[in-house]
Structures are given as C-alpha cells and as structure tokens.
Symmetry: C2
Amino acid sequence: MLDGIEGPQDLKRLSERELGELVEELRSEIIRVTAQTGGHLASSLGAVELIVALHRVFDSPRDKILFDVGHQAYAHKLLTGRRDRFHTLRQEGGISGFTKVSESPHDAITVGHASTSLANALGMALARDVKGEDYKIVAVIGDGALTGGMALAALNKIGELGKDILIILNDNEMSISPNVGALNRYFRSLQVQRWVQGAEATGKKVLERISPKLYGLADRAKEAAKLLVHQENPFYAWRLRYVGPVDGHDLRGLIYLLEHLKALEGPTILHIVTKKGYGYKVAEEDPVKWHGVGPFDPKAPQGSKKKGYSWSLAFGDALVELAQTDERIYAITPAMREGSGLTEFAERFPERYVDVGIAEDVAVTTGAGLALSGMRPVVAIYSTFLQRAVDQVIHDVAIENLNVIFAIDRAGLVGADGPTHHGVFDISILRAIPNLKILAPKDAAELRAMLKAAFEVGGPVAIRYPRGQTDPVQPGLWPEIEWGRWEIVKEGDEVAILAFGKTLGYALEAAGDDPRVAVVNARFIKPLDEAMLRALVARGMRILTVEDHQLCGGFGSAVLEALEAMGRSVPVRRLGLPDRFTGQGKIERLHQKAGIDAAGIRRALAEMGVKPVLAFGE
Amino acid sequence: MLDGIEGPQDLKRLSERELGELVEELRSEIIRVTAQTGGHLASSLGAVELIVALHRVFDSPRDKILFDVGHQAYAHKLLTGRRDRFHTLRQEGGISGFTKVSESPHDAITVGHASTSLANALGMALARDVKGEDYKIVAVIGDGALTGGMALAALNKIGELGKDILIILNDNEMSISPNVGALNRYFRSLQVQRWVQGAEATGKKVLERISPKLYGLADRAKEAAKLLVHQENPFYAWRLRYVGPVDGHDLRGLIYLLEHLKALEGPTILHIVTKKGYGYKVAEEDPVKWHGVGPFDPKAPQGSKKKGYSWSLAFGDALVELAQTDERIYAITPAMREGSGLTEFAERFPERYVDVGIAEDVAVTTGAGLALSGMRPVVAIYSTFLQRAVDQVIHDVAIENLNVIFAIDRAGLVGADGPTHHGVFDISILRAIPNLKILAPKDAAELRAMLKAAFEVGGPVAIRYPRGQTDPVQPGLWPEIEWGRWEIVKEGDEVAILAFGKTLGYALEAAGDDPRVAVVNARFIKPLDEAMLRALVARGMRILTVEDHQLCGGFGSAVLEALEAMGRSVPVRRLGLPDRFTGQGKIERLHQKAGIDAAGIRRALAEMGVKPVLAFGE
C-alpha cells in the first residue's frame, strides 16, 4: 500500500480495507526504521489511525495540520512524500524527528517543545481570516501539552475570537511521564463517566443533536454550536464546542467524525483516546521506556539499553543521598522525572517531590515559593526547556537571591533531537542575571561536590551538565571543591586552554603532553576564577577558551569581559558553536564540525603558534 | 484611625464603624501620596476593602497573603508598618511600588510581573505541608493575571493536589487595557447570570448549603467541598471550590465570608467584583488612564499629563503609516495596547490587530503563525516582558528565520517601577539567538527608518527603544538607513565612543568638541558594523562602549567578541550596568549612579588618558 502513496491525495482513492492495510504497513515501517535510528516510537505508533484519517479527510498542505511537539508525526512523514528518506530519520543531514517547516510544505510548524501549536494555529487563523482565505486549521495536541500554560492561554483567545480551528486532544494519559494536573484528572473522569465508544457511534450521536436541516450549512453553524456547547463539559468556559471522548484507534469512526466536523465552523475540541505504542506490544506495556528509544532489535525488543551511567542519574543519586540528611531538600520537575534522573528520589521522598507538568515557568516559581518558606528546592530542568522560564529565574528567584538550585541537564549539543533541543543558550542567558552562580562539572564526582557546595553557599546556583554518560561514583563519597576556584588539570607555559564539562576531555586530548599547553578546568563560569585568570596572564600565557555552547555571549565572552575589566589586552581565542542553529546528528560528530573537539583545538593551537611537536617516528 | 495602626493586629480591635472609617482614610492617603509620587492608583483604590478585610481576618505574616503583580497593595503597605515611609513610594531608596520580600515580612512575594502568585502559593503550600505547619495561604489575583498561562498551569496543579490555598479572584474587568479572552467573558457572564450580591448574602447562601453540623469541622471539609463544587462553575474541571461572584466593596460582607472560608480547607476560589479607582471619581471613570499615573493635582485631577512625544507613540505612529500601504502588517500586544502606543493602530486596523492578553509567549508564537501564513507581524512588547517569551523567540521564530519584528519598548532602566521592570537583559538574551538582528535607534526618525528597513530585510528583527520621550517626527518622512552600518556622529582621533539609543546623547555631551573623541551611533547591535569597527581600530583608536543595559553579555561584550574574532588586541573599556539588580529611582539619576551618563563617560575617558581640556576661563 505504502509504495503507492506519494502524497496525501493518494489516500483519497483507497478503500476502507486498503486504509486498514495502510495503517498496518505504517506501523511496521515506523518500527522497522526506529529500530535502526531510534526515535519517538510510542507516540508515533499511537497516532497512526489519527494521521491516516486526517490526511484522508483534510487537504494538506492547503489545510494546515499542526502537530504539537511534532514527535508523533512519523506516519505523517511517511504519507507526505518522505518515505524514501525516512530511513535518515534523526541522522545527520536526514529528516527531523519532529515536523519542520523547511523540510516539507506538509509540516505546518517547526517544533520540538510542547504547547506551541495553539498559538501558532491562532496566528494562522488570524492570517487566513484577514486575507479572506478558506482552509481548515487542525491542531493535534496531547493531554500533557494542552495543560501547558501557553496552550491554555492560547485556547482562551481562540475561544474568545471564535476562530475556526479544530483542536484534536490526543489523550493518551501521558506526555513522557504519566500526566499530572487537575485537568488531566478531569479528562480521565470524562472517560469514566461516558465510556469511550467508537468514534462513529459518538459522531452519530453528536450529529443527531444537530438538526439535519442545519447540518452542512455553514452559516447556521453557530446554531449547531449552541446545541453542542453546554456547561457540563470542561471547555464551556472557553466557548469551545466539545466532542468526545472517542476511540482514537477506530479509523473508520475517526474518518466519519472528521468529515462531519470539517463542515462545521468555529473552535472545536475533538477528544480522542489513544494508547501510546499501540500495535506494538512491548511499547504498549511500557510506554515510558518506549517514549524515546535508541536503536533496538525488533525481533527481541528490550528497548534500547542505556549503557553505563548517565549524568542525569549521577545528579539524581547525589540528590537522594543529600536529601537523606537534609530534610529541606525538595525536587521539582516539569514532567521529566525519568529524563532528569529523579525516579528514585520520587520513590524515596514522595513528600518532597513534585512534578508540575509541562510548565517550566511554574516549576521555577514553585521553587521560589518553597525557598521563601525555608526549603531548599532543586529545579531539575533541561537546558533547552529552561528557555521557557527565563523571567521566572530573574523575577521570582534572582531578585531576592533565593536558595533555588537549577540542575540543568542536556546542556550543550544533544544529538539527534536537533536544533529545537540543543542546550546551547543557557550560559548567555543566565550569565547576565545578577546573584546567579553558574557551574559546570567535569565528571560525576565533581557534580556531587558542586551540588553539595551549592546547598552550602546558598542563593541561586545553576549547575549545567551534558546529555550522555559519565563515570559512576562511589555512593557516600563527597569530594570537596574550593568554591570559585578553577583547577589546573595539566601544566604548561605558553597557552592555557580554559575548558569545562565535556570540552575539558577534548582539551586534554589536544594538549597531550605538550609542555607548552596548560589545561584548566574552568568549572566556575560565573563568577569566573579571576585570580587564576590573572595569574595565567601574569605568566604571559595566551588564552584559548573552548565551550559546548554558542560563542555569542558564552563563557569565552565572559573571559574577554574579565580581561577587559582587569585592563589587560591579552591574545585570546575562543572556540564554541558558531552563530547559527546546529542541526541534528551524533554529538561527537557535531562537536567535530564545530571545531570544538580535540582536532579543532589542535588546529586553534597551531594557529596560535603552538604547532604540534612531531613525536618520534612520525 | 490610620494613626493607631502599627500592624495588622491593630485591625482586630476596631469596630465595624471604625473599619469603615479606616477604609476612607486609606483611600485619602493613597490619593494624597500618589498625587506626589505617581503610582498604580486605580488598582490600589479598588482593593482597599479587600485588603482591610484580609488583615482583619487573617494573621499576617504568619498567614501568607500574596498579591499578584503587587501594585494593588498600597493599602497593605499602609497597614503593615510602612505608613511613615509611604511618602517615599517609588522614589530612590524608598519603598517599592510592588510588594517586596526584602521590604517587609508582610510582603510574601517580590513581584511586579503578572500571574506568578499561584505558583509561589503552590510552593509555599508544599513547604507548609511537608513541614507539618499550619497557616493559611491567600493569593489575590486579578482576572487578567489569572488567565495568564502560568497562573492557569499552576491552578491545574493546585487543584490536583487539593492544596489548602484561598485564591481571591479580584475581577475588575481589566488588567491595564480591558481584559480579553474567553475566560474573562465567562467571568462577565457569571456576573450577568447571577447578579452580584452583597458578600454576606452570598456567604450565607453558601453556608446554607453546608450542613451546620459539618460546618467548621475541618475533617469534614471535603464533604462541604463536594456540596459546593458542581459542574456549573468554570473551576469544576480544576477541582476548585468556587464561591461568588460577590461585591468586593462590601467590607462587612467580605469579612463575614473570609471568616467562614478561613475555616474551610482545600483550594477555593472566591470571586469578588471590584471597580478600579473605586472611591475616586475621575479614576473610576477612566481606569486605563489612571492605571499608572505620574504626579497629579488631587484638587484638579486631570491625571498626569504625558508631556511631549513618547517613544511608544513614535513606534505606533510609524506602524500606522506603514500599515496603510502594506496590508500584510499585523500588530500583536500582550495586554499593553496603550503602553505600546498601539491605540491608534487598533482603531484604524482592528482586523490586523490582536491583544492576546497577559501571555507574552502566546504573543510571540501567534506572530510565528502569522508569519508562516505570509503576514508581517510586529510583536510590541516591553523588554522586561520579553523575558517571558525567550523560548518562543528561539524555538518558534528564529529557527525558521521567520519574518517577525519585535518592537521592544521600555529597554534600559525604566525608573520608578524598579528592578522587576528594568529592561536590561534583552541584549544578552537576544544576542545569542542566531538569525535575529538587534537594532537601537537614537531618535524617532531613526526608529522609523529601522522599522521600514526591518520589513524590507526580513527575518526576525528586534528594535529596542527606551521608556520616555523623544522628538516628534513629521508624518510621511521616512529617512533611509544603510542596513548594518553605524554612523559617525562626531569625528575624533584617539578614542571612539560606541553608544546607541539613550547613551548616544550622553556620549555627545561628554565628548563636547574634544577633537580626540569620536562618537559613533552603534545602532546595529547585531550584527555589528565590523567594517567600521575594523576601520576605527586600524586608525589606532581606543574603544569605549556605553550601554543602558547589563554589562554582562551586552553590547560591549559583542564588541570584545568582534575584536577577538578579528584577532585584534585593542584597549577597550565598557560602561554599562554593573552585575547587580538596579533599584528604583529617576532614570537620569540611575544612569548617573551607574556611571553611564555624560559625567561617567568623562571619567572613563580621563582614565583612558583623554583628560578634559580646560576651556578658556575655567
């Protein structure tokens, strides 16, 4: 079936039976390819029937289909002319794991973060209506993303303006971790109250309420809407027509219902219930594990084995140990319990743990409230998601110098998730904020030392560490760290490489045993170790900074500022990410391309006059 | 009455009549002092009865009273030991126009931006409950702020956890501009459906529904809650007990109701209806004008006359003119129509104007949706509020290089509103974002040139301009600007001062006619005019940068980066705001303290060896 599909128009001529076959083929292809590439398997499997129904009924790209987060859209990619490239999913130069405007006219938005689809849809509807154009806008949004503040606020405006937008609430009871929040419980209660029925049956019931005379006449749609909108549904206050909940795996029913909803105007919520991982038993049974997976063996699927010990776990383990002796410690996550390494903390200290849902702003300000009440909150957050709570860090935490620790995971390039997810802006953003300290450990042991020291020093402290693996640490071992002091890891007398986190290893590799090159673990990004910087400069050394972060405003820039403040004109060279968005690909390969790996550092050293000394025999 | 009030405990002994007198005295004092200092008059007048009732019933600071935004709390300041300092309101070194933790133990949160109170309250409730403490948490939030995404997302979690928090929805039908959004219309409809009655009458009706046997027994509060929570109220889906709407100026009724609500546990919304400016006729009649005012004559109140021509109007007027010939231009504001100078635009082009409410994230991403649909959106936003939409600028706009213009008003120090409102982080934050251009005009004419050029050049462009007045411009005049080029405003041959926006005037003043000092209008902050920078350096000139922005990561830092990239070690000195939060005060005075005014620049020049030449006779 899939072989004959070059675009969504080809779905229009398939029979019901053929569509059913297509669904199966899509599932197989998604499993086959993600087994090789890794990817967001469970959510994409759960949305196959919906996507087939959408492309059967609507007319993309004329009609706009917006996928919130965009990681559930693999079937959409396969149906919109990207089947031949689908094997390049999430690979360097390949197709994105999310929808991406520049990749296909069928991808209505470029996305990766949650809760943005409704504001985008609002903007598109405003444009469509002012231009007098006539097409449909459909936003597909999960129950987790819908309860993000930005989505609720957009809903508020969509409802007020009565814009013609179809919102499909894809309710699978979880975003990555199981969802939290009163509204999500409410969605559950709707399912209990009114047992989920076939979409077609529900559709017929809904249509019965619209008089046949009215049905199909767009100018009477308001009359129809009145019949459907009643106070008993949760969207009444938002002035939205609500239909559901219906079975999101009933393809025939979905098509029936969408065809009829397409003829109605005004904002409508269609509440469908799906199962993450649907059709792939192991994924259905453990959708958290199968949310985002690395390559796996589809014949003997164990999911991707996480090799070794992650930075996230190193953080989580350290926090568990500290929380045993300090009852003030409180952990906060915005819907990233597993990803942030907080699973054990949540089990051990459920009374000192909160998942606020996909709401990074709430996470940070809840931390402020806890700190104001004498607790020692730790907000565990990915670098890329902290971008959603910048004002909260400034306004709610830093102004009063509150005791909030930010455990910034996935700092630096993150690999296959690409530009929406790289954590490469945090230093530039955070560095400007008074009172906030910024640290970056070189390994798990140093992370532990920093976390402990951060509690002791107080005030807001951000500790950034990368995605990936690190060395496991002996529990109970708490190395000391001298606050504010960098560490000379290797001596040398001509050029000092200032590196931290992941780039420190590259720097050591590049320096080898060259006596001209010193390597400094510049683990305190703010405040800098000005004493050491001054001492290095006093020794006549040139400075080379290396960071896994944008060059604009990053660590190297802080070094330039410090030297300016000292009144020193010293030759400095900065390595980091250039002023463009970095694509997807393997992290090491992306580091190489950016010239921040060992080879890149060697090139920079050579340009600074420190040419490699040929070893005997070379 | 007020003379005898040293703290909230003194309210407990007053008779009902005396409390009534106190209310009148508070109003008089608020009018008297804001007439001298300026301030948020209308909202503070509207909240007097509520604040007296809260302090009569609750026990601050043991009980926590959180004022969202915090500008409605003048009566609270007067009742909590700050009467003798109240005349210093919003003055340098004086008390803040908002609540501020470091100012009083009665100020539960430090605030200035909207919608943060509920997440703070959640954090406090989590802390209280894990510690086993026993006090009440009351959040007072306006209808505008409650429909901000962050507040809704926090509500979602509060409802789920069933935390004991009393939320007072202070519904005055407007935040600054009249409120927008479906929920706000819903609040209106509640008022229509059930005519606002005296709080006491409503309270009695509510209490009737709770069996007398149940009432007052905390362990049976859940039973009581069940009686009150029914699907007909908009907060049902959030699992919140809802009481209201009641008259928020009925002091006796409010006290009656609060006393009874205090005895109940669990999350409760009390919906009160107040009038902004209540008790002061001119303010009641034009609450938009009287929202935030400068000093005025209380005997002949015209409100503060806005002298001259504001930067905001210069922007708004330019946009109106451009929109006449370019039908793609669309203006977006997050609840700041008047403040952003968009009043005329909204009147002239209502079909190309949207106020999305207090939701900066939605504003930016609605812009993305419009741009994706071929429109040319302009998001008008204050610098300080753009901090709330950083991820949207990165993720929704910049990655795809969309045609969205950001008109960043109130950039730099803003004066009396103080640290929560200074716009001093935008350059550091935005500079790191690829594809985004950053401009800063020296006057209204240049603002017009930049705005026009931004539409022509395309992609995301941020234009930042300060609070305050500028020179009016002839309509129809559209000066040209060479894209990316700085402008030598004054020639000189030893030191080049690079300044932009407000500091350009200071630089010219400092330079006088000293032939050694050149002054450059460094109006392109990103990308810099590297050609001119290179030329200046080639001439052997030293560089002095001056900016009304944090030094960390700001414009001067960009200059250091550019010089590093050119491989030039040139003496550079940077002036800007130091790495701490700047307090409130007159803008010019704050500039002086930060050393970025003419005198500060002269000092820096002297330190760079360019000592003032004594004029004849000095």
